[in-house]
Symmetry: C2
Subunit: 209 residues, 2 copies
DNA sequence: CTGATCTGGTGACTGCAGTCACCGTTCTGC
DNA sequence: GCAGAACGGTGACTGCAGTCACCAGATCAG
């Protein structure tokens, strides 16, 4: 059953009618609650997702040590699945829904033709590559510089901007996972940041001042 | 003066005659000795280079601490200049010639049209993005895991493969720069690797066993 | 030849973050 | 209400790597 064009159109600005019709015919929409796995390392990809609504977290894992790479928001896509789908190679990363999300799934074999035929789609993926490239560069720079306090503070700023919340309700354990460190370290550094007056910890969560 | 098509054709496999003619008309070739700066952080890009021969080193710098990101070999391109050129934003990275190199320079405004018109060029840049994405992911993973001895050993393996030399004539200082650490640390770790029998240090250079 | 520069080898120290052990508080299910 | 889990706070210890100081051999310039 084809998708309703009127439903997907508002989420895909600039897409022309012809492309929307093709997408409606070949794609499907998947609604997922928070915390669902979308992609795991080593997995082969047949469907490339575009996030219509919600938030998807992308991270790498090495020997049960995780590191957050970036978030995929609405009208954004996952270049790892895109590249894995096109080259038929396995994924190197994990992706899970952080919030309840709606994904538009496009078959990778069709995508290969579409990007040549529809410049708007081509541009979208180039834009995604640029975005992720610079985000990963930032990640590399922050890892290189070391300094947990900087990394943690920037993480909180990012998270706050992304979620649009001034008070972040996060477990220390969860932060530790996303930064690839230990819970005790997060506790220590948060206290340090609090003493420096950069944040405040209340029972509602962490507030950036 | 247009370039000689016969000269560039062997370096650009799969490029059709029409595209080659356009490139010959609009592009130029630049021959550079080793150690020349091609791109620096903050710079805007008008010409996008494709490496025809030689080797170009790409690295990031943060407060006089460098980190090697990857090398660009022949028939490869620099996605940072590509993305910076297309979006008219400044470069985030540095690039210098590591060996004497020949660069094919293409004007960024033309590239924008060409990638839509010639799928082979589009594929080339997608392929480059994929390549760099996975290389940066490897870099992130090795930084996350920490362990200088692993990083240094992998660095030597990579370098050896890339240069096609079994014996690497490198200064400790130079290695330290590319890994973003200090010279003494490299000396120590190299000795450790030597004691573990993984490498040998002779006056000719470092040999991987 | 000679002083200067480059290279790398080494010991001592420091600081950060990762780990361990343990404890108190709050929340949850039965 | 109670047991158990989840959460976070803390002190002590450890290990790695970054830094400092210094030295010795090789190489180079004049």
């Amino acid at each position: 059953m084809p998708l309703d064009i009127a439903e997907i159109k508002p989420h895909l600005p600039g897409f022309n009618e012809e492309l929307l019709a093709e997408i409606a015919a070949a794609g499907s929409i998947k609604e997922l609650p928070a915390g669902m796995e979308i992609l795991r390392e080593g997995q082969y990809v047949k469907m490339i997702p575009i996030v219509l609504a919600g938030l998807v977290k992308v991270f790498t894992r090495i020997e049960d040590k995780e590191l957050l790479l970036y978030y995929i928001g609405s009208t954004q896509s996952c270049i790892m699945s895109f590249s894995a789908g096109l080259t038929n190679s396995p994924s190197r990363i994990f992706a899970i829904t952080e919030e309840p999300s709606a994904l538009l799934l496009l078959p990778s074999d069709k995508i290969n033709r579409w990007i040549k035929q529809y410049p708007v789609l081509n541009d979208l993926f180039y834009h995604q590559y640029n975005l992720r490239y610079t985000e990963m560069l930032d990640t590399i720079n922050s890892l290189l510089f070391g300094r947990m306090d900087h990394r943690l503070y920037n993480y909180l700023l990012e998270k706050s901007k992304l979620k649009g919340e001034k008070i972040l309700d996060l477990r220390h354990k969860q932060i530790a996972n996303e930064l690839g460190t230990a819970r005790e370290v997060v506790t220590r550094v948060l206290k340090k940041l609090e003493q420096e007056g950069k944040i405040r910890q209340t029972e509602a969560g962490i507030e950036i001042t």
